[in-house]
C-alpha cells in the first residue's frame, strides 16, 4: 500500500502507484454514496477544516460531504467571513487553527505554494484545494477516476485539454497526472493563454504532451475532451480580442465534437460558461460527463481523507 504521506499538495510529486492507490480506494467509497444510509463510521472523532480564500461551490461542498459521509466533523471557513478580512496573516491564522487540533485542513488560496507553506507550519494533514494557477490535485484525481470508469484505463488514450491553460491549475494537475498514467495529452488555446512554463513540461514529457495551434487539431480523434473555463476574474490583461471571438475559435460545439473519436467523452471542471467555452448542447449532451465528475469528486475526496487521516501515528 504505497501511500504514506502527511499531505496531498500536488500531483507532480505523486508516484503512479500512489495515484493508483487513491483511484482504487475511491472505487470502494463510491459504493457508500449509493447506499440508503450514506455514512460510515470510519473517521468518527476526526475534524476537517475547509479553509477557503477563494470562491467555491463544488470543491468546498464536495469536501464537506466527503468528510461527513466518513463521520468526520467538517468546519468551513471562508476568507470573507474570517479574521483574514480583519488583517490576520496566514501564519497567525494557521497557528490558531492548529491550536484547535484539526486532523486535516483543506486549503484553497489564490497564491501558488500556500498549501506547501502551511504544511510546514502545522502538524495537520494539508490538502491542496487549489492554489492559484499551480495545482488542483483532487480535481485531476476525480477527472482520472471518471476517465478510468468510462474507458477502463488511461494508458494510451488521446486527451485534449482546451482553453485557458495559463490560469488553469486543473490543466496543470491533469497534464502531470494523465502523462504519468500514459495518456497522450494535447493542449490547445490562444497562444497568449499558454504560459512559457509549459515548455519545460513538454520537454520532460518525451512526446506525451504537445501543444496544438488549432483546437480542431487537438480534438481530432481524441478519446477525451476536457474543456476549461475562461477565468475572467483572473484576467487583468487582454489575452484575446473578445469573448465572442474566443467562443468562435475555441468553443466546443457539437459540430467540432464530430472530429473526435465516436465514443469520445466530454469533461469540464465547472463552473461552466455556457455558450463561451462550451455550447449548451454539448454540456447537456450524451457524451458529457460533467455531472459524473461532480459525483465522483465525493468518492475521490473520501478516499483521500481516509488515506491521509484514516489512522493515527502517520
Amino acid at each position: 500500500m504505497p501511500f504514506i504521506r502527511k499531505d496531498l499538495l500536488g500531483i507532480r510529486e505523486l508516484s503512479v502507484e500512489e495515484i493508483t492507490t487513491i483511484l482504487d480506494t475511491a472505487e470502494s467509497f463510491k459504493e457508500v454514496s449509493g447506499r440508503s444510509i450514506k455514512k460510515v463510521p470510519t473517521l468518527r472523532g476526526k475534524t476537517v477544516i475547509n479553509l477557503f480564500f477563494e470562491a467555491s461551490t463544488r470543491t468546498r461542498t464536495s469536501f464537506e460531504i466527503a468528510a461527513k459521509r466518513l463521520s468526520a466533523d467538517a468546519v468551513n471557513i471562508s476568507a470573507s467571513t474570517s479574521s483574514v478580512s480583519k488583517g490576520e496573516s496566514l501564519i497567525d491564522t494557521a497557528q490558531n487553527l492548529q491550536a484547535m487540533a484539526p486532523d486535516a485542513i483543506v486549503i484553497r488560496h489564490p497564491s501558488p505554494g500556500v498549501p506547501h507553506q502551511l504544511s510546514r507550519m502545522v502538524g495537520s494533514s494539508i490538502i491542496n484545494g487549489g492554489d492559484g494557477a499551480h495545482e488542483h490535485p483532487t480535481q485531476a484525481l476525480l477527472d482520472a477516476f471518471t476517465i478510468r470508469e468510462h474507458k477502463g484505463s488511461i494508458g494510451g488514450l488521446q486527451v485534449a485539454i482546451v482553453g485557458d491553460i495559463r490560469h488553469s491549475r486543473v490543466a496543470r494537475s491533469n497534464a502531470h497526472l494523465l502523462t504519468k498514467l500514459g495518456a497522450h495529452v494535447r493542449i490547445a488555446g490562444p497562444r497568449t493563454l499558454i504560459p512559457p512554463a509549459y515548455d519545460r513540461l513538454i520537454e520532460s514529457s518525451e512526446g506525451s504532451l504537445i501543444v496544438c495551434d488549432h483546437i480542431d487539431d487537438a480534438i481530432a480523434g481524441s478519446d477525451v475532451v476536457m474543456m476549461l473555463r475562461i477565468q475572467r476574474e483572473r484576467m487583468s490583461d487582454a489575452f484575446f480580442p473578445s469573448l465572442k471571438e474566443y467562443s468562435v475559435q475555441y468553443g466546443l460545439t457539437l459540430r467540432r465534437l464530430d472530429l473526435a473519436a465516436s465514443d469520445c467523452i466530454v469533461m469540464h471542471p465547472g463552473p461552466v460558461n455556457r455558450g463561451i467555452e462550451i455550447s449548451s448542447e454539448v454540456v447537456d449532451g450524451a457524451r458529457s460527463l460533467i455531472l459524473d465528475q461532480v459525483t465522483n469528486g465525493v468518492a475521490v475526496r473520501m478516499a483521500i481523507l481516509f488515506l491521509l487521516i484514516g489512522r493515527d501515528g502517520s
Binding site: 500500500m1 470502494s28 447506499r35 444510509i37 470510519t42 484514516g310 489512522r311
Partner: protein
C-alpha cells in the same frame, strides 16, 4: 507446510502445530452448516448469505451451492468489507485496503447468515453487523463460521460452527482455501 515455509522466508519464526481439517473435512463441515441453516430457517425464503471479506466470501458461495443441492433454490449471496467499520483502524499495521461491499438484495425483512472463516475476538462480527444495519433492517441475523477458536472480547456467539478448536493467544488459526491459497486446509501455527 507451504504456509509456514513462506512465513519463514519473510523472517517470522512460525511453527506448525496441528492440522485441524483437510479439504474433505472442510467440505463435510460446509455441508453440515448448509443443512443446519435450511433446517433452522425452514427452507430458503428470504435467506441471504453474506460473506465477510476475504475468506468468508468463498465460504458463503460454497454454502449457497450446497443449499441449492438440498433445496433446489440458491439463496442470494453478498459480501462485506468491514474496513470502514473497524474499531482498530488506528492500531492495525500498514494502511488497510478498502474493498467493495456488495449486497445484491434489499436486506429489510430478510434473514441474513453472516459467514466468516474464523471466530476469534468477535470484533469483526460486531463491525459486520454495524455495516449490515446501514443497509436496512434485517428480520434476523445469524452467524456461521468454519472454526470457533474462543477468546471472545465481545458477547458474540456463532449459530453454526464447523469445528470448535481450543487455542492459546499465541496461536494462529489459518484457514487456507483454493480461492486464495496454494492448498486447502485448516491448520494451527504458532510464532516462536
Amino acid at each position: 507446510m507451504l504456509y509456514s515455509a513462506r512465513l519463514k522466508e519473510r523472517g517470522a519464526e512460525i511453527k506448525l502445530k496441528t492440522h485441524i481439517m483437510d479439504s474433505a473435512g472442510i467440505n463435510r463441515a460446509l455441508s453440515r452448516l448448509a443443512s443446519q441453516i435450511v433446517e433452522r430457517n425452514v427452507g430458503t425464503s428470504d435467506l441471504l448469505l453474506v460473506g465477510i471479506r476475504r475468506r468468508g466470501v468463498p465460504l458463503a458461495e460454497r454454502i449457497a451451492d450446497k443449499i441449492e443441492q438440498l433445496e433446489g433454490v440458491r439463496p442470494p449471496t453478498g459480501q462485506l468489507d468491514i474496513t470502514l467499520y473497524r474499531d482498530d483502524l488506528s492500531t492495525v499495521g500498514p494502511r488497510p485496503v478498502v474493498n467493495k461491499t456488495e449486497i445484491p438484495v434489499d436486506v429489510t425483512d430478510s434473514t441474513i447468515v453472516l459467514v466468516d472463516d474464523v471466530l476469534y475476538t468477535g470484533r469483526t462480527v460486531r463491525a459486520a453487523m454495524d455495516e449490515l444495519v446501514d443497509f436496512g433492517r434485517p428480520r434476523r441475523v445469524e452467524l456461521a463460521v468454519l472454526v470457533d477458536r474462543g477468546h471472545r472480547e465481545l458477547p458474540i456467539q456463532a449459530d453454526y460452527v464447523g469445528k470448535v478448536v481450543q487455542t492459546t493467544d499465541a496461536e494462529i488459526v489459518k484457514v487456507m482455501l483454493k480461492d486464495y491459497d496454494e492448498d486447502e486446509q485448516v491448520i494451527v501455527v504458532e510464532s516462536e
